[in-house]
Amino acid sequence: MSAAEIGRETAELLLEAGAIHVSRTQPFMLAGGWASPVYVDVRLLLGEPALRRAVCDLAVRYAEATFPAGAFDAVAGAETAGIPFAAWLAERTGLKLRYVRKRPLGIGRNAQVEGGPAEGLRVLLIDDLTTDGGSKLAFLRGLRAAGATVEHALTIFYHDVFPGARARLEEAGLTLHALATWADVLRADSSRHLAAEDRAEIERFLAAPVEWSARHGGRVSLAARR
């Protein structure tokens, strides 16, 4: 199964789950300050047994096709939605499971990584969604501080529209892998799940996301506030 086929199937699962929300009247502000007409709630996909089994199948296929056998000792789920996804993948692959908090606990041993020691483990970071990569960097710091080797992250969906995200992660030594991006959503058959007007709005946004953000109250560039 090719990466393109995995992308299209994942996109269809997201559409079937109702995870793609479009607002033509009230844009959303993404974590990094970009405005967007779309909000993706991958948790809706994880909540349905048949859909989560299907996306876990796709993730395992992606991993088998992308990484050499024995490349990882553990998967680490990112708080919060990355944790159940990582747990199912750990069960499917037989790998150890850890999870990583958004920030250290702040009390006791100030732990950020749970589930056992991470020292010396080669870890695949797992999350549900990537927007601009900022939260992945925090998880990466936590895992590395605990002694893990982390060079790859796998997410179900990556917006892949705003500048700087992948480069920032690469700079930190983290390669981002995503089962699907917006390009896959547009390639998938969305006719049963998206109104024509919503799809048209997504297409306008994707054609010029930075300009769309600037026109709707969000960031206007990587450097400027607005």
Binding site: H21, S23, Q26, P27, F28, M29, L30, A31, G32, G33, W34, A35, Y39, D41, R43, T80, A81, K102, G134, H216, G217, G218, R219, R225, R226
Partner: protein, 101 residues
């Protein structure tokens, strides 16, 4: 406080602004014990907003309104630091019941 204000005025207004603000305000609490309560309340104010919208859709209007409110609070915090104890206490109480949304 003026450094924190300058930083905030240069921010994008997404959720990461509030998460980073919380960290910076807590660092200020440690570095400036005389204004620890003020820094802690500002950190909690931004942190509550970040926690409420973490993983949830944040409409642009609410984001922009929250950024304006937080900026106004920090501007007032910077002014209050030079005022008498009663005025400073009044502002601390104002912050303690404030929300960004």
């Amino acid at each position: 406080m003026n450094e924190l204000l300058a930083w905030l005025r240069d921010q994008k207004g997404g959720l990461r602004t509030y998460q980073e603000f919380r960290g910076k305000a807590l660092a200020l609490r440690a570095a400036d014990p005389e204004n620890a309560a003020l820094a802690r309340l500002l950190a909690d104010l931004a942190g509550r907003f970040a926690d409420i919208y973490d993983g949830e859709p944040l409409p642009v209007d609410i984001a922009n309104d929250a950024l304006a409110r937080l900026t106004a609070h920090v501007e007032k915090a910077a002014r209050t630091m030079g005022q008498n104890p009663a005025e400073r206490l009044a502002f601390l109480n104002e912050l303690a019941v404030a929300e960004l949304s």
